[in-house]
């Protein structure tokens, strides 16, 4: 293990990997040249506006577009009737849900659900026409949280939906889409072995990913149905697949071109606008740009689930957790598919517990369909369990890090969700926090310290990369993974390390769907691991080719040549070395262009753990919580670019602090979102925060050529509980409902909470 400010470039024998290089796309981003989703204009391009439901749940009785079409400049209007029927197309049920979320047909399922879209020669005309589209609704009763949705006699969103995963099979329809269970041992035995038992119920509200760039795209569709679509997304291949299904064409008809992406955090792994732009463009015969405004982003794009979670856990006086019983219900939004499955797998994954039952429910409600948000499902689950673990530590009088160390999973432990852990670094993150000066800082009145831990799987999945050696010996590294947080820097570092050439000679590129092999979305903390592995494999193929060409030039066998520091060398020293530029300059004579592809489904995924320590001060007069200090220790496996690893750690923590203290969707009694703006949905600002202290722990992942684990997500898992535990330490009060806004904290202090 290595725990330093500057991770192990030299000790690991690397020259480039582990350095803080300047990112290749950085100059464009500090000078305003970088082109994001809304920045593209095409000749003749139309602007669009979207008509959205003002009701949480209603039948669409009729849509009259005649007045809207009369407005000067309006060129096309589409409604659900312009799209192929998802059921008649025979789409998979989950793809039918995607299609029905893009544009409603018979009924609207949430405030903000798309009903129609307009394209016109100006924004003003498009907006005026959108207002002039006359939709008649028959309002239906709505359900807004899991209690309402699961109640007997609840209004049903989908009259044919029956709960999966129950025995006997469900006969009656309900709002519960599915049930999951994980269990081990004998729960009664586990609780009988406990000296302390804590049982609590927690709730969390939907929160939004809060990326600063609203969703945007441009489509240019021909009468034959072929289309070029420019998107800001976490995966333009996925956008192509989804869009092709919704509009009813083959994937080869669509060329999808990635713009720079202004933040996603999971929320841009799904489509919202692309099929609308496609159809409007087809109908109008001109390119169409569709851009959400911020209110649309909040009303209609992916929040994370609101949840209700009940936890009962027991521990013996030695600090061993003996049993855990967990019940959780996750809001899916208007269509099935909350991350309750991942929540169930992660909820007690950091601990080796002999007896447990974890039961989870995926519940539809009249809110926008949830989307992935950084370690989807895990933060809410960890909020509940890490709060109870903290209470258990207090009950038996043990330091909270010690209690976690006593139960921590290690290499070989059978995870609560099934497989045995390979080499992992959870204990190392706990030790790193225990030894950090922050953990010993004295605290004053009204101040408290909270500890929490978190786990996330990380993902592998499909990636492709192509390496081109250019005629002057420079290299183009082509990937298809949108760069959301500096991945081009990592791809350049891998290329430099493998080929032994300077970063200034490498240009990493994120290419469109017709220029590079398939890539899954930038998500699951997977790009440095999986796309990085594709780059490494392609570079190694290039090296083999370069060695072969040098050997051919020297009339030697390839095994007599090696690649050292960016040049081919004869092992016997009989030849002057050949640089990459020298070989590239004569490529025609040694076999033609020098290129290599690698396409793979990355399997060697390395799990991520994070331990965090939060210090707060609570104002007893106002209930205001101030973060005094924050420490996060996370196992990165290997930090390819330490500065951007720190950035991921810090960004995840601060999103978690916002979730803990401020952020929530507020719906009124009619099911209408009341705070769809950054004024009323308050994400953390610079003056809310201290510096976020980071410790990069490096326990290399044996499944990756450089030991990478992936760092993007796990950092958001512990903060909700870390903040709650710090508030408990400061006030003696256990808060169980997020967000822990000043009013709730004050009510807890004053004893007026229920």
């Amino acid at each position: 293990m290595t725990v330093t400010d500057e991770p192990s470039t030299e000790s690991a024998g690397y020259k480039y990997v582990g350095t803080r290089s300047i990112r290749p796309d950085g100059l464009d981003k500090v000078t305003g040249r970088a082109k994001f989703g809304a920045d593209l204009t095409l000749p003749g391009m139309l602007e669009a506006a979207v008509v959205r439901s003002p009701h949480a749940h209603a039948e669409i009785v009729s849509i009259d577009t005649s007045e809207a079409m009369k407005i000067e400049g309006v060129k096309a209007i589409v409604t659900g009737a312009d799209f192929p029927d998802p059921a008649e197309q025979g789409l998979h049920p989950s793809d039918q849900d995607v299609a029905n979320n893009i544009i409603a047909r018979d009924k609207v399922l949430y405030d903000g659900h798309v009903v129609a879209a307009v394209a016109a020669t100006s924004r003003q005309a498009a907006r005026a026409a959108a207002k002039a589209v006359n939709v008649t609704y028959k309002v239906l009763p709505h359900v807004m949280n899991v209690d309402e949705a699961m109640a007997d006699g609840a209004a049903l969103l989908h009259p044919n939906m029956k709960t999966k995963g129950v025995d006997p099979p469900a006969e009656e329809p309900s709002n519960v889409a599915s049930r999951i269970v994980h269990e081990r041992g004998e729960l009664d035995q586990g609780f009988a072995n406990a000296d302390a038992v804590v049982e609590r119920t927690f709730t969390t509200k939907p929160v939004h990913q809060g990326y600063i760039e609203p969703h945007a795209c441009v489509a240019d569709t021909g009468a034959d149905g072929r289309s070029n679509i420019w998107v800001s997304s976490q995966g333009h291949f996925a956008m192509r697949t989804y869009t092709s299904k919704v509009v009813g064409v083959t994937t080869s008809m669509l060329k999808v071109i990635p713009a720079e992406i202004g933040g996603g955090f999971g929320g841009k792994t799904v489509i919202y606008l692309e099929p609308l732009a496609y159809m409007l463009s087809k109908k109008a015969g001109r390119p169409v740009r569709v851009v959400m405004d911020r209110a649309e982003v909040f009303r209609a794009s992916g929040p994370a689930s609101g949840t209700k979670i009940k936890v009962k856990m027991g521990a013996n006086s030695a600090g061993e957790i003996t049993a855990a019983e967990i019940w959780m219900a996750f809001e899916a939004g208007a269509f099935a598919g909350s991350p309750v499955g991942a929540a169930g797998m992660t909820v007690i994954a950091p601990y080796d517990i002999p007896h447990f039952v974890v039961e989870g429910f995926d519940v539809v409600v009249n809110k926008p369909k949830v989307a992935a948000y950084r370690a989807p499902g895990a933060p809410m689950a960890a909020f509940a369990v890490e709060s109870v673990v903290d209470d258990l530590a207090a009950e038996i009088g043990m330091d909270p890090i010690e209690l976690r160390l006593k139960n921590a999973v290690v290499e070989g432990t059978e995870a609560s969700y099934g497989p045995k852990f390979p080499k992992i670094g959870f204990v190392e993150t706990l030790d790193a926090c225990k030894e950090h000066p922050n953990y010993g800082e004295p605290l004053g009145p009204n101040q408290g310290r909270g500890v929490a831990a978190g786990f996330w799987f990380n993902a592998g999945m499909n990636s492709s990369a192509t390496i081109h050696v250019n005629d002057d010996g420079t290299v183009t590294t082509v990937v298809g993974s949108p760069d959301i947080g500096g991945s081009r820097a990592s791809m350049a570092l891998f290329t430099a390390e493998e080929l032994g050439i300077g970063l200034e000679r490498i240009k990493p590129v994120v290419a469109d769907t017709e220029t590079v092999g398939f890539n899954d979305v930038t998500g699951g903390s997977r790009v440095t691991l999986a796309t990085g592995q594709a780059v490494v494999e392609a570079c190694r193929a290039i090296k083999t080719d370069l060695i072969r060409r040098a050997a051919k030039t020297w009339k030697m066998e390839a095994d007599q040549v090696e690649w050292v520091d960016g040049q081919a060398q004869a092992k016997d020293g009989s030849q002057p070395p050949l640089s990459l530029a020298a070989i590239a300059g004569k490529m025609a004579r040694t076999g033609g262009p020098i290129s290599a592809n690698a396409s793979l489904n990355a399997r060697g995924v390395g799990a991520a753990f994070s331990t965090q320590v939060c210090d707060v001060e609570v104002d007893p007069e106002t209930g205001q919580v101030t973060i005094l200090r924050y420490l996060t220790a996370q196992d990165a496996g290997r930090a390819i670019h330490p500065a951007y690893v720190e950035g991921q750690l810090q960004g995840g923590v601060v999103q978690g602090i916002g979730w803990a203290l401020n952020e929530e969707y507020v719906h009124n009694d009619d099911g209408v979102l009341e705070n769809p703006s950054f004024l009323d949905y308050r994400i953390p600002v610079a003056s809310d925060l201290p510096m976020i202290d980071t410790i990069i722990v490096e326990v290399p992942n044996p499944g990756h050529p450089y030991g990478v684990r992936g760092v993007g997500e796990v950092g958001i898992v512990p903060p909700l509980a870390a903040v709650a535990n710090a508030i408990k330490a400061a006030t003696g009060k256990r808060l169980v409902d997020l967000p822990m806004s000043p009013m709730k904290v004050l009510e807890a202090i004053d004893g007026t909470d229920s």
Binding site: Q650, S687, I692
Partner: protein
């Protein structure tokens, strides 16, 4: 819909454009002047991504009518570098990894420039409050604050 002609100075160049009465300076800069470095994150003055200097004051260009720019001097992120020579803030943001996705970066750079123009030696707290009108969802602000403090140091050394 009648349009008004507006003449102003943008990044040192005289610029003329026609605008509707209710059009924002943000949209005029992006659509009429072609400066797409000015970003829309909210359109309601809450995120700061559209920050520009309007006669040396940092403003959310989404909250200013384009016709209010008549005769004004405007600086956007595109006008911060001196030819090939980056502004020290641009350089320290690059070197300090103070951006991830980069969409908020133009607004932060403009707001940070406004701060350092009026307060060349800010404390960390002053930096945090001066940048509190700019939202970043990626970084947690740590590296943005550090890069701003570092640029202040470099600017002071250059003056000394």
């Amino acid at each position: 819909m009648s349009r008004t002609q507006v003449t102003c100075t943008v990044n040192g160049d005289q610029v003329d454009f026609l605008t509707l009465d209710d059009e924002s300076l943000l949209n005029a800069l992006r659509d009429e002047v072609g400066l797409t470095g000015v970003k829309e994150g909210c359109g309601t003055g809450d995120c700061g991504a559209c920050s520009v200097l309007l006669d040396d004051a940092v403003v959310c260009s989404c909250l200013v009518f384009a016709r209010e720019a008549e005769g004004a001097t405007i600086v956007t992120v595109e006008g911060m570098a001196d030819g090939d020579h980056l502004h020290p803030l641009q350089q320290t943001f690059l070197e300090g990894a103070a951006l991830q996705c980069g969409v908020c970066t133009p607004g932060f750079l403009v707001a940070a420039k406004a701060l350092l123009d009026r307060n060349p030696d800010p404390t960390e707290t002053e930096v945090r409050y001066a940048l509190a009108g700019n939202l970043c969802r990626c970084t947690g602000y740590d590296k943005i604050v550090r890069a701003t403090l570092e640029a202040a140091r470099e600017l002071q050394e250059a003056r000394a």
